[in-house]
């Protein structure tokens, strides 16, 4: 298993290298196929397409896609869906980028996370769903997820899952040591010290440096390090007030070794979540299903509370992960593909998604009584959705990712990760990350300004 992880890391580096090559092509090819309007279809066209013998290829790794596809095929028997799991995260994007570059082989529909969406949208690989009337769906989704699929005046995906952040914590650990559950970041640091002092094997949380976590934390602190103007003007400022707020908190934890040096999603991590040596997780609202299957032994011991804030009583959170489904420009069945999106990311699909452990992005589901009042046995009967739904309303608005965020994330460990290893100042790491990211952006033909 250990080997397996090392192996994955090596493969990840290689993937990043090939993403780099893919990114180049995406840029040089942009602008040649843009003819908005010509690809759109009316509601009748879409209905007709769904009643015609068609085969759609869908690339995605979310386990919820399988039951959604089954229900879709049952409703539209003439459309056959080939659901292919070509890999998770970066592996998936590399393949997608390769297919875009090769000019063939891309699926009709692809699952794309919010942080990777700009890369494909701004390189003109995705269909602008406005041409299909997607704009009318705006009120169906939470503000933060709709903001994430709205790029440069277009709608490039329909939101599927969302991950408003909350604090998952081990009630038993806090109780055992008589430590109160933190509500602010200062209290969180204090609790971190108290837990580690009471039990040297226990930590307030784990972190070995994770790009998605870092950007989410800066988001929560009010930082807006990335701004994109038009297709090619990008500015990066990883030293803005928000970024500094976060490093101010996190540096204290790293300096005193209060964070477990365990990489998220590793087997060690699940072990820590099971035995209580990791006492809290600041993570997206989709986490409950993973806890239930990955840390079965800790059933009844976890609870959910709002994410700690910088000021007492000022609710603020961010999105962590989550994504939607997009129609690829290469698709030859765009109307049917959009029909699939309407089903998968609309009321019918989102119910199936939520029933299979996903956290919805649709306001109707989030506000339904049955969802809000569901008592979760794993969380000792707590109505966790009340906390998580409130989190989805408290997401700080105005965030945006880079058009080359997947690359930026892939070099995170070489830059900010160094600060973790040496227990140095995270700000130095962020500066190095900013420089390396900006350099790459310029090579890709973007005009990048940094502060």
């Amino acid at each position: 298993m250990k080997n397996n992880h090392r192996f994955r890391r090596a493969a990840g580096a290689a993937l990043a290298a090939s993403l780099l090559m893919g990114g180049l092509a995406a840029c040089s090819g942009s602008g040649t196929t843009a003819n908005a309007g010509a690809e759109g279809a009316s509601a009748e066209d879409i209905a007709k397409a769904l009643d015609t013998e068609t085969t759609l290829t869908v690339w995605g790794w979310a386990p919820q896609l399988e039951p959604i596809v089954e229900a879709f095929e049952a409703k539209y028997p003439k459309v056959h869906v080939n659901l292919e799991n070509v890999g998770t995260g970066n592996a998936h994007y590399t393949k997608l980028q390769n297919a875009v570059k090769a000019g063939s082989g891309a699926p009709d529909v692809a699952q794309i996370e919010y942080n990777a969406l700009p890369q494909f949208a701004l390189s003109d690989s995705l269909v602008n769903l406005k041409d299909f009337g997607a704009e009318e769906l705006k009120d169906n989704y939470t503000a933060s997820t709709w903001g994430s699929v709205n790029l440069n005046g277009g709608v490039y995906a329909l939101p599927q899952d969302s991950g408003p952040m909350a604090m998952f914590y081990r009630a038993d650990v806090f109780e055992k040591h008589g430590i109160s559950v933190p509500t602010t970041w200062d209290e969180y640091v204090a609790a971190g010290k108290a837990i580690h002092a009471a039990d040297p094997k226990a930590y307030i949380t784990n972190d070995t440096g994770d790009a998605g976590f870092t950007t989410s934390m800066i988001w929560q602190a009010g930082g807006k390090p990335y701004t994109v103007d038009g297709n090619t003007n990008v500015s990066i400022d990883l030293q803005d007030e928000g970024a500094k707020k976060w490093t101010g908190t996190w540096n204290q934890l790293l300096k005193d070794d209060l964070v477990a040096p365990i990489t998220s999603w590793s087997d060690e991590w699940y072990k820590g979540l099971s035995d209580g040596s990791i006492a809290t997780l600041i993570i997206g609202a989709w986490m409950p299903a993973n806890l239930e299957s990955g840390a079965e032994a800790a059933s009844g011991k976890w609870r959910v509370a709002p994410m700690p804030t910088y000021e007492t009583g000022a609710a603020a959170t961010a999105e962590n992960g989550g994504g939607g489904d997009a129609v690829m420009k290469q698709s030859k069945n765009k109307a049917a593909a959009y029909g699939f999106l309407q089903f998968a990311n609309g009321p019918e699909g989102s119910k199936i998604h939520a029933a299979n452990g996903g956290f919805p992005s649709t306001t109707a589901d989030l506000e339904s009584d049955s969802f809000l009042n569901a008592e979760n046995a794993y969380f000792g009967g707590q109505k966790i959705n009340e906390v998580l739904v409130q989190a989805s309303k408290d997401v700080v608005p105005g965030w945006s990712y880079l058009p080359f965020q997947t690359y930026a994330n892939s070099i995170y460990s070489d830059t900010v990760g160094q600060a973790y290893g040496s227990k140095g100042d995270l700000n130095d790491g962020l500066k190095a990350w900013q420089d390396a990211t900006a350099k790459y952006g310029q090579q890709q033909g973007f005009t990048v300004t940094t502060k």
Binding site: K95, A102, Y270
Partner: protein, 268 residues
Amino acid sequence: MGVMAVYALLPLFWLVVNSTKTQTSLFSSFGLWFSGDFALWDNIVGTLTYNDGEFLRWLANTVLYVVVGAGGATFLATLAGYGLAKFDFPGKRGVFAVVLGAVAIPGTALAVPTFLMFSQMGLTNTPWSVIIPSLISPFGLYLVWIYALESVPTEVLEAARMDGAGEFRTFFTISLRMLAPGFITVLLFTVVATWNNYFLPLIMLSQSTWYPLTVGLNSWNAQATTAGGEAIYNLVITGSLLTIVPIVGAFLFLQRFWQSGLSAGSVK
């Protein structure tokens, strides 16, 4: 020496121990000793039947890639290496330079360009996209070349020619036997390389029905890292154990043929 043995054997020991645990006891017990129910059999059954038995399908794919890819690569490398060692023709120095250069380029670096080329030919997402690149083994060719220079005496070939044997007959009936330790070594290398091949199939294939074990197991592993995904580390670990069994078997089997000195004393 002891440290080396521990370093080499500990991961294997870990793998054996942990493939006997259930998903739950995996995370609640000490990693280097047995604990909880002895679930090895359940894990093996689970591995072989999970998701309609896709593990068996991946195993069959891997065997196909190894037999055709590694077998073909060894055959081609032996033919070419022998030819280069024993025959003179114009441009040999050029071939030498190309082969040496090719040894230096890692396959991973070629994967994406190969993908683009295969995409043009419509071969991606087919078994051919994994098999064809596996057929080329510059290192194997070089090894046979060097080995043939030393182990196949030109005098023996001349004697065969005098007796009226054609070049192919000489190759298959006489030279091949003398080359045996050389091409068995190449076969071992290519079998292991193809069995463990990860990046190329990852790039080329998008349908899990054509995955080899490496890519398939990684997709199981990745399942635990996605929102709402089911963690099946116990099956990943057991699957990894099952995956190394045939390769260990192949090694032990091929070792029997690893005798040298067949041609010793043929020329005096």
